[in-house]
Amino acid sequence: QQQVKQSPQSLIVQKGGISIINCAYENTAFDYFPWYQQFPGKGPALLIAIRPDVSEKKEGRFTISFNKSAKQFSLHIMDSQPGDSATYFCAASMGANAGNMLTFGGGTRLMVKP
């Protein structure tokens, strides 16, 4: 059973456009929701994260929108650049009692065309 569902699987955006990736979760015990960026041949790197008591968090061109009642959260990349081309993963964790282990979504392969 996949506890975090991510869509779309792949996304093509023109340079300067907005990239939007969506995630939905099942377990209401999740209390931390990070987004990771992974380039080919590299490990995932934290991009931005949010707690469920906040509805939106913005860092530069990256924004997380969080809807607790719908159990959904999304990543928006404004002014998308070719250098943003990577695989993006949403994730969720339940905190220290569960070892802060991350449950990942299936990933979205983003391609930004010049």
Binding site: Y32, G43, P44, A49, S93, G99, N100, M101, L102, G106
Partner: protein
């Protein structure tokens, strides 16, 4: 300065062999993890470990065992390797009190 490092980067071996993957972090973190990324890029937690507690994902076969000689190292030992073990294995670490996990570069395991 590599924060989380893994060796080897690539590992090709025969079915039935036993192998180990090493992970070291120089961040002073208390908790370390192993994740498996399959051919479809799906990332799945295998273990969470600090000096007090090991949490094992129930789906991980007991052929996999984490071994920690000290707080900065968490090695992954795999017995009787199977074809389905072929994947990229990532180590990660986290500071006590903080949620952020820092990932290593991965070890690409191919079982023939």
């Amino acid at each position: 300065d590599t924060a989380v490092s893994q060796t080897p980067k690539y590992l090709v071996t025969q079915m039935g062999n036993d192998k180990s993957i090493k992970c070291e972090q120089n961040l002073g973190h208390d908790t370390m993890y192993w994740y498996k990324q399959d051919s479809k890029k799906f990332l799945k937690i295998m273990f969470s470990y600090n000096n007090k507690e090991l949490i094992i994902n129930e789906t991980v076969p007991n052929r996999f065992s984490p071994k920690s000689p000290d707080k900065a190292h968490l090695n992954l030992h795999i017995n009787s390797l199977e074809l389905g073990d072929s994947a990229v294995y990532f180590c990660a670490s986290r500071a006590q009190g903080g949620p952020t996990q820092y990932f290593g570069p991965g070890t690409r395991l191919l079982v023939l």
